[in-house]
């Protein structure tokens, strides 16, 4: 076992070293190296202004005006950016009680959010209201496991969308949490919850194999991890294939670093989540290299190395 681990570590390190040396030559072959910056939030819960300065733990943190400025600065530096949200846009400050989500959606449109999924609290003022406010958002709402037939959200959500960023094709989908016991029946209405593992597998396979996506991202409002058998991002990662990255929400989990898990083919899936209330903005800078057919294998390993801040 030890030998095997040592072998994996060494081969991974060698590959990492090769990668690093390759990086220095990347300028010579711009097509061979593609970059994508993913910025993400989850569970912002109507926190449009920073937490008030009242001595509480989060005082002064968050707020869309500062987040927008930061996002704009990153967009200035990076050519290819995707800005994503994993749901629970609504509920938590008086803004929502008074305006039912209109300023939240308008703020997201102003920041140029590229896509979002829906959280359980996005049902809170009714599906008709969510559908109305979503028009202000100007981004696609992604859900592959809710069937909204015969609800006000019918035709308003899509299972996935594909972004072309430079030479890259990025497929993004979303999964929502089971409503039973969480969303009142009168708010869920005719919405049907479908098995997220099955639907995500179908959607990710479609995106990777049929649509030729280089990467599949899942926006999830299932929650990071649970003690029992409840389906979570851990389950999604382990029981699916073809998903590269899960941007999570619901459990308000502040992850210090994205977590790498193995999918059912043994390949790495990254899971990240950045707490709640827009206190943090997550950032993942991916580098892609051209893949050759003969090199395709079922699994890869990941090295996690820590660097100090610039």
């Amino acid at each position: 076992m030890l030998n095997r681990r040592k072998f994996i570590t060494q081969s991974a390190l060698t590959a990492g070293a090769l990668l690093l040396s390759r990086q220095t030559f990347a300028g010579d072959e711009p097509e061979a190296l593609q970059k994508l910056t993913i910025l993400h939030t989850n569970d912002v819960h109507s926190r449009l202004e920073p937490f008030p300065m009242d001595g509480s733990r989060n005082q002064g943190l968050g707020g869309v005006a500062a987040r927008a400025e930061l996002i704009a600065a990153i967009r200035q530096q990076e050519e290819h950016v995707l800005l994503l949200d994993a749901g629970d846009i609504f509920q938590g400050t008086p803004f929502f009680n008074l305006y039912k989500g209109e300023p939240e959606m308008k703020a997201m449109a102003a920041m140029n959010y590229d896509a979002a999924t829906m959280g359980n609290h996005d049902f809170d003022a009714g599906l008709e209201n969510f559908a109305t406010q979503l028009q202000h958002g100007k981004f696609p709402l992604l859900l592959c496991n809710y069937d909204f037939t015969n609800t006000p959200m019918e035709m308003k959500a899509v299972p996935y969308t594909i972004f072309n960023k430079g030479k890259l094709k990025i497929g993004v989908t979303g999964v929502g949490i089971e409503m039973k016991g969480l969303v009142p029946d009168r708010l869920a209405g005719n919405t049907l919850y479908l098995d997220p593992v099955q639907k995500l597998n179908e959607t990710a396979a479609l995106l990777k194999k049929d649509k030729g996506c280089d990467m599949v991202i899942c926006l999830s409002h299932l929650g990071y991890k649970y003690d029992g058998n409840k389906v979570s991002d851990q389950t999604l990662a382990k029981e699916t294939a073809y998903v590269d990255l899960i941007i999570g929400g619901h459990t308000h989990t502040f992850l210090d670093a994205p977590v790498a898990l193995k999918n059912k083919l043994g390949a790495d899936v990254l899971v990240n989540q950045v707490g709640w209330a827009g206190i943090n903005l997550g950032r993942l800078d991916f580098e892609f290299t051209r893949s050759k057919k003969k090199n395709l294998a079922k699994s890869h390993s990941v090295i996690i190395g820590k660097k100090t801040s610039e």
């Binding site: 209109e102 030479k167 990777k208 280089d214 990254l270 991916f286 893949s291 294998a297 090295i303």
Partner: protein
């Protein structure tokens, strides 16, 4: 704006089985930003928000009471939860004109971790209790009450008033209602919000029981209770009374 943590993950090897020969993610560097009050703010977003914020602040910045201490949300029992459950029990009894044996606030429904000592604004109550949930009453047998308390115990303990119990192996033991041991044959009147009474947080044992609902919001009860204390010259405070405790 503080920039923290910069790590890198190196993807090595190839991983997908596909006829597609395109690009593969090989490496990812991650970074996280905490949005602080000293960060530069977008003028466009500030302008977009201003009309909404002006209106929100105008209606929400009024002080309705003063907290004598930091009121904290904690399990199995916290000072914030005790105050909220007391408010629910007292105001529901007043509005429904009836005796209520016990009142419960689901832990997940308390949306702030703390009300700090000092002025409590109306907006703060909206943040603690943002949901438009009504307080409803249900008549339940002692047997069903036990099932409900076991469920509450299994979830780590919820704010409650009128009842006390100990959590042992995720079940409720040593249950006392109004100071008397729970009688499984008796009928009790309990207050919950309509979300819980309708089976929210997987409270299936309450789901099909009839409920009285005069559409009196839990948040309105908290506002009324706090304002009442304030008018009487009292600051808001609470103590830990072992309403809910973990077995040693």
């Amino acid at each position: 704006m503080r920039r923290f943590m910069l790590f890198s993950l190196l993807f090595t090897g190839a991983f997908m089985v596909s006829c597609h020969t395109g690009y593969q993610p090989r490496q990812v560097q991650y970074d996280g930003y905490t949005i602080t009050d000293t960060a530069k703010k977008s003028e466009a977003l500030t302008a977009l928000l201003r009309p909404y914020a002006d209106s929100v602040n105008k209606s929400m910045n009024g002080v309705i009471a003063i907290a004598a201490m930091d009121l904290e949300k904690k399990q199995p029992e916290g000072t914030l939860g005790n105050v909220l459950a007391d408010a629910m029990l007292a105001m529901a009894q007043e509005k429904y004109h009836t005796h209520i044996d016990a009142a419960f606030v689901n832990y997940g429904g308390v949306r702030l971790n703390m009300i700090p000592a000092g002025n409590i604004t109306l907006g703060k109550i909206f943040e603690v209790a943002p949901f438009d949930n009504a307080i409803v009453l249900q008549q339940i047998s002692g047997k069903t009450f036990k099932l409900f308390l076991d469920h509450v115990a299994g979830r780590g303990g919820w704010p409650c008033a009128g009842v006390s119990f100990t959590i042992k192996d995720k079940k409720a033991v040593d249950i006392a209602v109004n100071g008397q041991p729970l009688d499984e044959m008796a009928v009790y009147t309990i207050a919950n919000n309509d979300y819980i009474a309708n089976g929210g947080d997987n409270c299936d044992m309450l789901r099909n029981l009839p409920a009285d609902n005069i559409n009196y919001l839990f948040r309105d009860a908290v506002i009324a209770y706090f304002a009442k204390q304030h008018r009487a010259g009292r600051k808001i405070s609470a103590t830990i009374e072992n309403r809910v405790s973990n077995a040693q």
